[in-house]
Amino acid sequence: MDGHRRLESTDRPPAVGVLFNYHSAVVIANTLKKLSPKMRIELVSSGLDLSENDKRKLDSLEILFTQPNLVQSLKLHLLPNLKWMHCLIAGVDLIVETLKSEKSISSFPVTRNASYFDLQMAEYVIGIILSRERRIADVHENQRNQIWDQEVFRKFRPLTDISIGICGFGSIGKEIARVAKTFGIKVYALVRNLPTEAEQSPTVDEYKSIGELGDLLSSSEYLVSILPCTPSTNGFYDGDVLSMCRRKKTVFINIGRGNAVSESTVIRALNEGWIGHAVLDVFDKEPLPAESPLWSHPGVTITPHISGTHMIPERFVKVALDNYNRFLRGESLLNIVDVNKGY
């Protein structure tokens, strides 16, 4: 059972509530209207404080397009008629706890906007790698000093000489593998269950199970973590795990969630020479507090959670629209969140 009802022929299509950050909410609503003129859209307030009017809107809604941080503290009894919630972003960890704790109420499916963010996150990862391998910062430094020095750049590694270990091999991980392969990078993928030969992707050179994490870490010049935030990924890289990166002084890139590794682990791993550098896009607390030692550590690159935050409206709402049509026809929805797994 998908938990939603088939549309009766006499029914008007249910209204879709949009609860999202202000400017984006308007763009999203307008884009939905443009692509699906018959869709009825209710723009709910995008603030964290809901007015009485907002609550009235929510009360009747059967469909809600939203983002987890805005509904995380929402009492689900405010959504008594909800039949389907779609998260317009990829990471749903903030709402999973709410759903689990209010199990008796939350019998509706939750879907998420997976696949939309894949390519831009892969772009970010390759951009980071290229920027380091081709020493763009040093090139700029030389230009500032008007130094023409070819010799110093002669010995770069072509990407065909390096390996990347991808931890978290969902749709984002697969896209990173595809783009990495475009440049001839050797790809290791960490998976929970090793795929059969028929299921294997041609862009992965070697699959590794969780037990083989050490292998993956010691073989990769770059480690990209796209692990979701779930209880099983808390502190995934903490302790001595990153010491296995020592062989290649792996560069650690985190674009998943900040729970996977603590600040002190990152700093220790850098100071002990386990990892060569850390590129962090996600943190336990965001924005990263000014007093965090990560800001001043030379071995750390900080990016403000931007590996996948650009909205191209028509593409952004594609999964939502596909699912809306499926919902109306009583078909199964795409990218359903498994509340027990947490993604």
Partner: protein
């Protein structure tokens, strides 16, 4: 007719799974020098004397190449090893002149007046992709050397693509700016565009251009290519959305968020982008990238185009004069990135050795060699 050459790189690109190496050779045109070369080649069974003229002082590269060839193919008479800088001694000159095959940087040959002074030479192989200084040193109608000249046409392709996309993504995703923000402990999200929303115009569509198109398509970019003549249906590159002829350059410039010039240096490309040509870039404030040769655009043209708001930025790896003179305004213009001719620089001695050995075997059999320079075309 140009046919695609499958290389080692393709094998690596498909996850290490083995792909049959195509033995199709690249034929640029009917090459008069190759038929001359073929007629002068020894019959199978004889062993031509091979030498290498090292380019960079202190660089171990040529030694790596020589060692790799000698080790894997002791049957090859690889007996001459000369350092081209700072000077070549009398004895070394004689050694070079005795070579029938020479691996060399043609510029060093030029500098030492050896162009027409290598009486035994049948085939010179250049380690680099561009041989324009050498080819432009001859008068347009010849006479040309009697030996073959081949160049390293495909080794650099993927590296050039790395360079191009490294700078494009660095710019679009503000990677350099974010370093500066970190220095100030500033958490600030800068809006960005994805490559999938952008158009790349490739001017000069040889193997390097095709490789760049392939990678552009992996990022879902819209790709335009400027060509000398429209390819026939079965020759069209699957990664190109729009082909345009040289006369349509203005249209290509207007459509492109990024333009990459990979044009070789030949008389017809001199000043290709000079004058008002770059004014056509204003609709999208195109970023102009040059990884071909510096003859296509003057320093002053770039500066003027930036200051007039024709182009939004310039990423330049090649220049009319290299090293770029100290007084060039390009060094200090805030919208210009100067890189010291490093887009395709890394060379693997063992890979070059492997390629050379393959060509050597073709040579002694009298077969056509890939990337044989057509003296008339200049590349």
């Amino acid at each position: 007719m140009i046919r695609c050459v499958q290389t080692e790189i393709i094998k690596r690109l498909f996850g290490g799974k083995s792909v049959n190496r195509s033995t199709t050779l690249k034929m640029l045109s009917v090459d008069p020098s190759s038929s001359v070369g073929a007629s002068m080649r020894k019959e199978e069974g004889t062993r031509p004397l091979v030498g290498i003229l090292a380019t960079f002082v202190g660089s171990p590269l040529e030694r790596e190449i020589a060692d790799a060839v000698q080790k894997t193919r002791p049957d090859i008479r690889f007996e001459v090893f000369v350092r081209g800088k700072p000077t070549i001694s009398e004895k070394e000159m004689e050694d070079l002149k005795s070579c029938e095959i020479l691996i060399a940087d043609p510029n060093i040959i030029l500098e030492n007046n050896l162009v027409n002074n290598l009486p035994n030479l049948k085939w010179m192989h250049c380690l680099w992709a561009g041989v324009d200084r050498f080819t432009r040193s001859f008068s347009p109608s010849g006479p040309y050397p009697s030996y073959l000249l081949t160049r390293n046409g495909d080794f650099f392709c993927i590296q050039m693509a790395e360079y191009v996309f490294g700078y494009i993504i660095d710019k679009e995703r503000h990677i350099t700016e974010m370093k500066k923000l970190k220095e100030q402990s500033l958490w600030k999200r800068l809006p960005y565009r994805t490559l999938s929303e952008l158009t790349l115009g490739i001017v000069g569509f040889g193997d390097i251009g095709k490789e760049i198109a392939r990678v552009a398509k992996a990022f879902q970019m819209n790709v335009w290519a400027l060509v000398k003549s429209f390819p026939k249906d079965d020759e069209q590159c699957q990664h190109v959305d729009e082909y345009r002829l040289s006369s349509d350059l203005p249209e290509l410039l207007a459509a492109s968020d990024y333009v990459v010039s990979i044009l070789p240096s030949v008389p017809s490309t001199d000043g290709f982008f000079d004058g008002d040509m770059l004014s056509h870039c204003s609709p999208k404030l195109t970023t102009f990238m040059n990884i071909g040769r510096g003859n296509v655009v003057k320093d002053e043209t770039i500066i003027a185009a930036l200051d007039r708001g024709w182009i939004g930025g310039a990423v330049l790896d090649v220049f009319s004069v290299e090293p770029l003179p100290d007084d060039s305004p390009l060094w200090t213009h805030p919208k210009v990135i100067v890189t010291p001719h490093i887009a395709g620089l890394c060379i693997s001695g063992s890979k070059i050795a492997g390629d050379f050995v393959q060509n050597y075997d073709r040579f002694v059999k009298g077969e056509t060699l890939p990337y044989t320079v057509d003296w008339d075309k200049g590349y």
